[in-house]
Symmetry: C2
């Protein structure tokens, strides 16, 4: 009987030590799952939000590009030598504006697949960090485009008496109105990019 | 002998199952410590780097503010009615430049204690996220200031024949050179802020 108890003890002893290990491992995975599962849902929500905001950003950046790029105004009077015409490529700041906003639109379209990766796999850190870095660069790019264009638009509206630069918006009123709209759209795109950066940072917080 | 083996087995059996639990727990804490300890050191390194870069940012932003704010040039000739003088408050873009860079300098000085918190407690998430959000806003602010001033400086250097805005840098060459330097300093500050954002994001990655 002692022998059977002994063998029983032996037989149970080993599985018990294994089962405690397994149980410990099970509880660990259970707790990690318990902490991970609500996070995964929360992160997926953030990722879906990120995707939707990116679509809004594409709309804003494309609107800015298209408005600035297609606006030109020809005045109904002309002299013998040349016609009075205003378009975006008259001023380098506006050319930069069109290029920068086109780059921002293109980047946003290309970033959509990475945003979808964030929805499918909420715990992938690499793509999110990559998006954050590029989003930060795009904050700077769109803000620079919008600010430099805004400085010129302000000058076109108001002129400057100290430097003898006269306002041109009396003549080109339609042109000025449309490029002002483009500048506003670009500032909206910049704010969207800032929001995307903060959103990515919040999602990166815990993995 | 069987009995002694049995009791020995019993005596060993129970502690073994406990010791495996304890060992499992020990290995878990060991692995978590092993993964946490180098992370803490790594994060502290990032935080110290963050602090040093903030000091560089203060230098750049203060240099931009001071250069733009103190530069004025009075031409050696004058008419009966007014003297030809150029200073930053002649153009709204330059006034904005001075204000924005002053805000950036002030923010950077105020952020130093929070950066020190990051060095002392590398795992605190709140302050790091707060700094990241404000840094992102400052990227936009300094970039906007630098870009709008750059657009005006370009105009002052080159003029624009389409809008009949003449270059003023032939007359105010000293003024133009100094404000160009201020614009460069502000762009450096913007790049530093972008770097701080990415650095904070990398440090936030795992906690």
């Amino acid at each position: 009987m002692d022998s059977t108890r002994n063998s029983g003890e032996m037989a149970i002893g080993m599985p018990e030590s294994r089962s405690t290990k397994a149980k410990a491992a099970a509880t660990i995975t259970a707790t990690t799952k318990a902490t991970h599962h609500p996070q995964a849902g929360w992160k997926r929500g953030v990722a879906i939000f990120d995707f939707i905001i990116r679509l809004c950003g594409i709309a804003a950046a494309l609107a800015a590009t298209a408005t600035m790029g297609t606006t030109d105004q020809t005045l109904p009077f002309f002299t013998q030598f040349f016609q009075f015409q205003a378009s975006y490529d008259d001023l380098p700041a506006f050319t930069f504006f069109v290029i920068a906003n086109a780059i921002a639109s293109g980047y946003l379209v290309l970033s959509l697949p990475f945003s979808i990766v964030g929805i499918v796999r909420p715990h992938v850190v690499g793509t999110r960090l990559l998006l954050l870095i590029f989003d930060t660069v795009m904050v700077a790019l769109t803000t620079a485009a919008a600010a430099s264009a805004a400085a010129i638009v302000y000058l076109a509206h108001n002129g400057n008496s100290n430097t003898n630069w006269l306002a041109i918006c009396q003549q080109f009123s339609d042109f000025c109105q449309r490029i002002s709209g483009a500048v506003v759209a670009s500032f909206i795109a910049a704010v969207i990019f800032m929001f995307l950066v903060v959103l990515s940072a919040v999602a990166l917080r815990r993995n």
